[in-house]
Every structure is written in C-alpha cells, then in structure tokens.
C-alpha cells in the first residue's frame, strides 16, 4: 500500500523555525477549505432543523403549490438542498485543489 499516509519523522527536528513555503501553502489551503465547510454546514443545519422541524408550523401557513411549505422542506426540500451542498463542495474544492496546485 504505497499510497497510504504513514507517520513521517518531522522534517525539521530542531526547535520550531519559520514555516516553509510548503507549510504556508498547506495551511492557506486548509483555511480556505474550513471557511467553505463552515458556510455549507451552516446551511446543512439550518434547512432541515430550522425550516423542516423548528419552524415547520409557521411555514405551513404558506403553500408551495399543493404543499404546505414546512412539510415540503421536511419531505422534499431538505434533500434537494443536501444534494446542492455536496455538489457545491466538490466543485469548489476542485478549484481550490487547482489554485493551490494539489491535484
């Protein structure tokens, strides 16, 4: 299994020194990833738990065609939103991978 991640000896065994360019690139990439994830996970939480559960009754006052709106979020809308979230993540990460040259 040549491609597996193995524990590696630290490259700089001496006292902590200034981060290398490689380390700066890695941490910038990771920060961009975390920002994107935080935004997407907020939506992941807000739509089903907020619109589909906690605020379902007020939303049911509104109709979406033949659906009470809150009911629609619980039985249809959340699933569409989940799909869009994973799609956006895959697309945005592909461009992040390219920008930071990690393909």
């Amino acid at each position: 299994m040549t491609e597996a991640v193995k524990p590696t000896k630290p490259t700089a065994p001496t006292a902590p020194t200034a981060p290398t360019d490689e380390q700066k690139r890695a941490s910038a990439y990771w920060r961009s990833n975390l920002r994107l994830m935080a935004a997407l996970l907020t939506v992941w939480f807000a739509v089903p738990f907020g619109l589909g559960i906690v605020f379902v009754e007020p939303l049911n006052q509104f109709q979406l065609g033949g659906f009470p709106l809150g009911f629609w979020f619980a039985q249809q809308g959340s699933i569409y939103v989940f799909f869009v979230l994973v799609l956006v993540y895959a697309v945005r990460m592909r461009s992040l991978d390219r920008r930071y040259n990690y393909e």
């Binding site: 299994m1 040549t2 491609e3 597996a4 991640v5 193995k6 524990p7 590696t8 000896k9 630290p10 490689e22 890695a26 990439y29 990771w30 990833n33 994830m37 997407l40 996970l41 992941w44 089903p48 738990f49 589909g52 559960i53 906690v54 379902v56 009754e57 049911n60 979406l64 065609g65 033949g66 659906f67 009470p68 809150g70 009911f71 629609w72 619980a74 039985q75 249809q76 959340s78 699933i79 569409y80 989940f82 799909f83 979230l85 994973v86 799609l87 993540y89 895959a90 990460m93 592909r94 991978d97 990690y102 393909e103």
Partner: protein
C-alpha cells in the same frame, strides 16, 4: 401471465445478472478483496454506495412508515440523506487519503492505540450484524409473498446467493454487483411510482404529482395533500401534513432522532468503507455527489408514494363490503400483514382513528410491495417490485458482510492474533470469515431475535456515539490524542447503550414522560455523540499532545494529493 410466473422470470434474470457480474469482477488480492483495488470510478461508486446504503428498510419499509406517520416520516427522509453531507465534507476525502482498509484500522493508526482499534472492531461487528439480520429477514418476506416458498427457504436462497458473490467476489465483486442492483431497485421503485402519480394526478413526475391536484373522482381539482388531510380528519385521524399533534412525537424528539440518524449514517462502517474504493480524495468527494443523487431519486419519490398509497388504501377499502375486496387483499391477508376484524359484524370494512371502532390493521411493510396491486398495475410491475426489494436487501447485506469479514481477518487476525499472515493466507482468512458471517446472518434471518426493530436504534445510536466524533476529530483536531479518543468512545457507547437497553429491554413499558429531555431511545445517539465530542476534546486537552509524527500524519491527510508528499 400470472404474477408468480413473472416473478420467477424477473427474480431469476436479476440473480443470473448478479452472479455473472460477480464472476466477471471477482477479487484476486487482499487489496481487491477489501477495497476493490481502489480503482472504482466515482460514478460507479456512487451507484454502489446508493445500493449499499438503501436496504430493505429504505425500499420496503420507509414509504409505508411515512404513509402512516405523515409529516413526521420526514425524520427518515432528512436523517438518512443529511448524513451524506457530513460524509462528503468531514470524512470521505480524508479517510480515503489516509489509505487504510477498514474503519477500525483508521482509528487504531490515527490514535496509535490497539485498544481503540479493538473497541472500534467490536462496534463495527455489532452494528453490521444487527443490520444484516434485518436484510436477511427482508429477503425471506419477499420470497414468501411473491414466490410462495416458506420464509426459511427464502432466507437460504438469499444466503446462497450472497455467499457466491461476497465470498468469491470480495469488495470488487460486491461493488459491481451493487451497481447492477441499484439499476434493478431504482427501476422497480420508479415504475409503479410514476404510473400511480399519473393515475392519481395526471402528472408523470411523482415529486410534483405529490403537490398537484387530483385528476378524477369526487375530489377532482383539489390538491392531493389537502384531500388527504380531509380524509384523515373524517376518519378521526391527525391530518397528514400536521406537525405537532397529540399521539405523535414531540419536536425535541423529532429533532434528536433526525440528528442521530444523520450522524449515525455518517458513522456506519459499511458506508464509509465504500469511499475507500475510489482512486483519490477528489474522487471520494465526487462519489458522495453521485451517491446522494442516486439516493435522492428514491428518497424524494418515497414520500410521494407514501401519500398516494395512503389515499388509495383508504379510498379502496374504507366502507367496502368485505365480500367484495380486491384479490390482493386476500393474498396479503394470508401473510398476516393485513387483517380485517369485523367488530360490529356488518361485513363492511370501517377505518377509524379510534382503535375500538377501527376494523382494519395494515402492516406498514406491505405499502410498497402491495402498492402496484392496490393501484391495479399490470402483473409484470408487481413482479419487478419483488426483484427490487431483493436487490435492496442483498446489496446491503453484502456490504455489511464485507465489513464483518474484514474486521475479523484484517483487524483481529492479521493485526493481533497471527501477525505473520502473508497476503495469500489473509485473503483466504477473509473469505473464510465472509463465509462464516454469511452463515451467521442466515441463522439470524431464520431465527430473528425478537427485538430486531429495537436493535436497529442501537446500530444508528452506536455509530453516532462511537465512531463519528473520533473520526471527525481525528481529521480536524490535531490535539486529539489516544486518551481522549478512547475515553470519548467509551463514554458515548456506555451512555447510549445503557439508555437504549434500559428503555427498550429493561423497562419497555416506560413512557415518554420518563425519557431524559423528552428524547426517545431512537434519538439518544445524538446526546451520546455530543458527550463523546465533549469528553474527547476535554480529555485530550488535559493529557499529552499526540507525538509529532502523528500530527504530521494529520497534516498530510488533509492534502488531497495522491500519495505522501515526498518532494
């Protein structure tokens, strides 16, 4: 042709297809046995993941449950799809990059702890056996209704088939059989759904038909859901779309169950392992996109099927003379899954919200299977649904059996008991463990423990409370160490298991007022998960940080490059 003849044809052809695919793609090395040689394209893996994930419960039971639960059936819809967002964002790319064969192996290596690995192995085996017993039972039920063989014979036929392709084919064989099974199950689910949607509302797309108006009959021109609410009201039942009404779950409980199902999904080893089979981290992300698309097709159709079936069931049966019931009623009566008890001896079926007056008992499990018959669709459609139910149960069973076999051969034998096992011996051991697991699963299918339904809560609760936090923190928090992970898992497991055992087995009569925070045993995994997170983080902060090699390993895991960065 009769339903029986059609069923023999569709089931026979689909089984021949699975065996053909398994032989063509059989495994020849440990890497291809455990992770399909890590060469599965994202699209194919998405389909395989969808079939792996959608079990007899999703295919046969879910729409029926929603049909009886109305709005609150959404816990399954949101819970069993939302977990894929967590998988795609928090776990799949990193676990794939880490490049191991099993989930316990990740736990053991990331935390440098054999003890953590053993705890994880036992959770993985327990969760998978719980699940697989239900699948085998589903196979038996489909066989007994549609092929008119005893349930036990049905289970044995299912065991024989899974034996061929899981033991011979390994992960590679399972993957491509699952792709075929996805195609069979989705066609089988969609054809009746589309036909019934058109029949009732004139709209061919169930997702839209469900929100459209009824096309014929006394309620023509009225919205389907509005009509259904009114029908339910007339019978003295809660409205179908109403959220919080008497006799249903509380908001807190719906919240907790949905969260536990989401997090549990993301922690189920047989689902996670599917992401090990693709080429790299980017392919793991795309696999999740495809998987959620393929799962979403069924999951957005199921609630539509549920409401169509509810309308059809009530309109067909309520107020009808028992002597005039359609033929399907009698054939399901023989299975005991539908029962008419003429309490007022007038020979007419009366449905009512009051159990003292209600004369019709319907098991939710028959909704999907009987739906085409209730709607009067042709015999070949009914036969196709039987093949679809079998595809759903068998594909999930195979994925689970692989987790059990790799846990035994790779995590227990190879890493503990018999370290100098060479690759060829390990492959043999993996096949023997798979065979052993198939036989045990078959035994549980024929002699199901009386509490199958209860232990399913266990599988999700345990996956949520044991694996999910230590996997996520293993990637996102470098400071999380062995002490934290081990104590977090133990706290999560002990708390969740005691709560479920107490309320399900020790005091099954206890009512909702005794639940902590109003959370049922089905939802308690979400609290177990939070306790695991808190314990892991706190204990890690007050003990030594992980060795710098481990921290470097985490840095490396976070990059989506193919192998370790060497230059």
């Amino acid at each position: 042709m009769s339903i029986l003849t059609w069923t023999y044809i569709t089931v026979g052809l689909s089984f021949a297809l699975y065996i053909g695919v398994a032989i063509w793609s059989r495994a020849s090395s440990t890497s291809s046995f455990y992770v399909a040689g890590r060469g599965v394209p994202a699209f194919a893996n998405g389909m395989a993941t969808a079939a792996d994930w959608m079990s007899a419960a999703s295919f046969i039971s879910m729409a029926g449950l929603i049909s009886f639960m109305g709005y609150q059936g959404g816990i399954y819809l949101m819970g069993w799809t939302g977990g894929y967002v967590l998988l795609a964002l928090l776990l799949a790319p990193y676990l794939r990059k880490f490049g191991r064969y099993t989930v316990p192996e990740f736990v053991g290596d990331r935390y440098d702890s054999q003890f953590a690995r053993v705890v994880a192995v036992f959770c993985a085996i327990f969760i998978s056996f719980t699940y697989v017993a239900g699948q085998m039972r589903g196979v038996g039920v489909v066989f007994s209704r549609f092929l008119e063989v005893p349930v036990d014979t049905g289970v044995l036929i299912g065991v024989g088939l899974v034996f061929v392709y899981a033991v011979v084919g390994g992960m590679r064989g399972i993957t491509y059989t699952q792709v075929a099974q996805y195609c069979v199950l989705i066609v089988a689910f969609m054809i009746p759904a589309v036909a019934i949607s058109h029949q009732l509302t004139g709209n061919w797309i169930p997702q839209f038909g469900f929100g459209a108006t009824i096309s014929d009959g006394p309620n023509a021109g009225r919205y389907l859901l509005e009509t259904l609410d009114a029908i339910q009201r007339d019978l003295g039942l809660p409205e179908y779309t109403a959220a919080w009404v008497g006799g249903k779950k509380s908001m807190v409980d719906v919240f907790a169950i949905t969260l536990a199902l989401m997090v549990g999904t993301a922690g189920l080893p047989h689902v996670i392992v599917r992401f090990y089979t693709v080429r790299n981290a980017a392919a793991a992300r795309w696999s999740a996109v495809w998987a959620l698309l393929f799962i979403g097709i069924l999951y957005t159709t199921a609630p539509a099927v549920a409401s169509f079936a509810r309308v059809n069931l009530i309109q067909t049966l309520n107020g009808r003379e028992y002597s005039e019931v359609p033929e399907w009623f009698n054939s399901w009566e023989r299975t005991g899954l539908i029962a008419f008890n003429d309490k007022n001896h007038d020979g007419i079926i009366t449905m009512d919200g009051d159990p003292a007056i209600n004369e019709l008992d319907v098991d939710p499990d028959i909704i999907v299977l009987a739906n085409p018959e209730i709607a009067g669709l042709p015999n070949w459609v009914i036969a196709l649904v039987a093949a679809g139910g079998l595809a759903a149960a068998l594909s999930t069973a195979a994925g689970l059996l692989l987790v059990i076999s790799s846990s035994i051969s790779h995590d227990l034998l190879k890493s503990f008991l018999w370290k100098d096992l060479n690759e060829k011996q390990e492959l043999l051991a993996a096949r023997i463990s798979a065979a052993f697991a198939v036989v045990v699963a078959g035994y549980f299918g024929i002699h199901p423990p009386g509490y199958v339904a209860q232990v399913v809560a266990f599988a999700f609760g345990l996956a949520a409370a044991s694996f999910f936090p230590v996997l996520v923190l293993g990637v996102f928090d470098k400071r999380t160490n062995r002490e934290g992970a081990v104590s977090g898992m133990l706290v999560g497991i002990v708390f969740t298991a005691s709560y479920i055992i107490y309320f399900k087995l020790v005091a099954p009569g206890a009512d909702a007022s005794q639940w902590w925070f109003g959370i049922s045993p089905e939802g308690i995994g979400s609290i177990g998960m939070l306790m695991n997170f808190v314990t892991t983080i706190v204990v890690s902060r007050v003990t030594k940080p992980p060795a710098s090699e481990l921290q470097n390993m985490v840095d490396e895991m976070r990059l989506p490059t193919e192998g370790p960065a060497v230059g």
